[in-house]
Symmetry: C2
Subunit: 107 residues, 2 copies
DNA sequence: CAAATGGTTCGAATTTATTCGAACAAATTT
DNA sequence: AAATTTGTTCGAATAAATTCGAACCATTTG
């Protein structure tokens, strides 16, 4: 059978609100680089290209992986937008699922 | 020179309140077994022997390690008490440092 | 004093996470 | 249409975390 090739501008899987797991969210937020991304997104959606994890020497595959961990935990949404990607903090879902958590983490 | 041998009932090091780091706290809480311990301690201090990480097949060295991660992150206090150890959630310190975080995590 | 209880530490083995470069693909620009 | 920009995925290398048993120790119990 043909192997499904990777689809770059494809829709990436996101957990539904009720599938978001607390320990996975905490883990996603427990990395300084990932937490910094979340802080940037707290001000509103950002295009991925404009979202820099303050370490300029980071490989783009590494940055992509940071986004993947956040996305799979349900912390951010990552959607195709024109040539790039739009990153959005899932504030509504997180607030509904774990009231007060995001506010506390964002300080 | 004599090597300092391990001191079992010794005072273990704890970070001061202002040394507690958010990402380390989040990491400590991101493990289900550790989070369960914290939930048990939310009701008040418990003797370590009475604090079970719901997996009965766990080695005692593993349990000790779980406590170590929580202690070094500043989440719990671990003090000598008679033959055993008394575990205390550092609620005051955590509330002062990261208001609302513990409440949000404990649900 | 001997044995049992409770718990830390060390070292080794295993499992997970991180990081990178290479390959690839879609949309845009030239 | 070719080149650029943007960003995912894969596989491999490395780094970190977890887990266990063994050794050890201090206090209490017999």
């Amino acid at each position: 059978m043909m192997e499904e090739k990777t689809q770059p501008t494809a829709d990436l899987p996101h957990p539904a609100r009720d599938e978001i797991v607390l320990t996975e969210v905490l883990f996603a937020l427990s990395d300084p680089a990932r937490l910094e991304i979340v802080r940037q997104l707290a001000g509103g959606p950002i295009e991925a290209a404009r979202c820099n994890p303050f370490d300029p020497s980071i490989a783009k595959s590494t940055k992509s992986h940071l986004m993947k961990v956040l996305r799979e935990a349900g912390v951010i949404r990552n959607e195709a937008l024109a040539r790039g990607r739009l990153l959005t903090l899932r504030r509504d879902d997180l607030d509904a699922r774990f009231p007060g958590l995001l506010d506390a983490v964002l300080g």
